[in-house]
Symmetry: C2
Subunit: 235 residues, 2 copies
């Protein structure tokens, strides 16, 4: 149900860029930060990284500039450190995602082609047919479902923004597992979203998606044990 938060997808931002040492270092560091392999606040020493990647400091430094612009590393008095996100910041990101993905669902209700809606239905069916222990496929179909809606929104930049707003949850302790109840509710949410999109009801689709994402983050709050209010009800 929460797989989209764990998706590793190459950012399309540099689609036509030839691979260089810089891009390789950047992608690797990005993945490691996002996956939590590099712990928050650990300092990033240029020379160490250069040694590790067997390159000179130049491509390392340029990678760090990209990471900085992406908000994944923060400046220290000297050099950079892996950014740490507070619970408060995670809540803020949840709200951004809520705003964006909810809107995307509404757009999808308006713009989705018949084929796209059929595809969405097919994904949902596949998901319902899964055995409850099949976590891998559950993760996969969830991602597919959300991705298909983003695509159907007909807005590449919105898709991109949603993707980036997802990055920021990885630093937090992440739970892949939700309770059986939570999973069932998630499926019911998908059902509602799909139904609203099929009926071309943008308003309902947006509300359903917001409720769904809110539920996702409620699991986060529960698992992290932090008493942070989720995004309030809007619309």
């Amino acid at each position: 149900m929460y797989a989209i938060l764990l998706t590793k997808r190459p950012t399309p931002m540099y689609a036509f860029e030839p691979p260089t040492r810089l891009t390789s270092v950047f992608e690797t560091l990005r993945r490691e930060i996002v996956a939590g392999e590099l712990r928050p606040n650990s300092p990033l020493i240029e020379l160490d990284l250069a040694e590790r990647f067997e390159v000179s400091r130049t491509p390392v430094r340029e990678s760090l500039q990209r990471l900085a612009a992406a908000g994944l590393v923060v400046p220290r008095k000297r050099g950079w450190a892996v950014r740490e996100f507070s619970t408060e910041e995670i809540r803020e990101n949840a709200e951004v995602r809520l705003a964006l993905e909810g809107y995307a669902a509404g757009l999808a209700a308006i713009r989705a082609s018949a084929a796209q809606i059929a595809e969405l239905k097919a994904i949902h069916e596949r998901r319902l047919a899964l055995h409850s222990s099949n976590e891998k496929m559950r993760v996969k179909t969830n991602r597919e479902f959300h991705d298909a809606i983003m695509v159907a929104s007909g807005n590449g930049r919105l898709t991109n923004a949603i993707y980036h707003s997802g990055q920021f949850y990885f630093n937090a302790p992440i739970a892949r597992a939700a309770t059986g109840d939570e999973l069932a509710l998630g499926n019911a949410d998908h059902e509602l979203i799909l139904s609203a999109i099929s009926q071309r009801n943008a308003d309902a689709a947006e509300r359903a998606m917001r409720a769904h994402i809110k539920r996702t983050f409620a699991v986060f709050w529960r698992l992290t044990g932090k008493d942070v209010a989720g995004p309030p009800d809007v619309a």
Copy 2:
């Protein structure tokens, strides 16, 4: 009425970073791209820039990496060029902004302090009292109004995302002037938004803000002469 699109505000992303040649080059280029002084698709030659800024290629290259991550320059077969935004991309950005700023207005209705609401009212009053020829103050009060709502949303990242989504309109031919009718409608929009926030009606605030932004972009479409459908009605 459209001033927020022209706002130049330092991005808080690198707040604690000491000024260096890199940051100076980056800020200058960023401003010039966003302001349209560097034309879309013009190639950015490292050596030329280095010469112009009287620095070596190193800080120039690192600036370009940041600009690339910010989406302001795009890779070419060789080097970088100022990014050009198509009408389609501008529409996409408008939708992102609609989603974000609408949601921010909804949050503001829930979270704004009494003082923040009073401030919002004061800004609106100042705006209404302006002489119609006072374009400068009209621009300023508009920015203040929108900024105050973003602050009242209590979500720094949302604010930041809205700010960044604004960058991308600068490349397009920009009109500062709207017709008298459009200005009046803009003020009426503000009135509605303010009223909804005062009454703690998140749903109404969000709808009002969406309508307002949609109207803003309608002016864009009119001025650019492009027949692009604005964002559809959602919520």
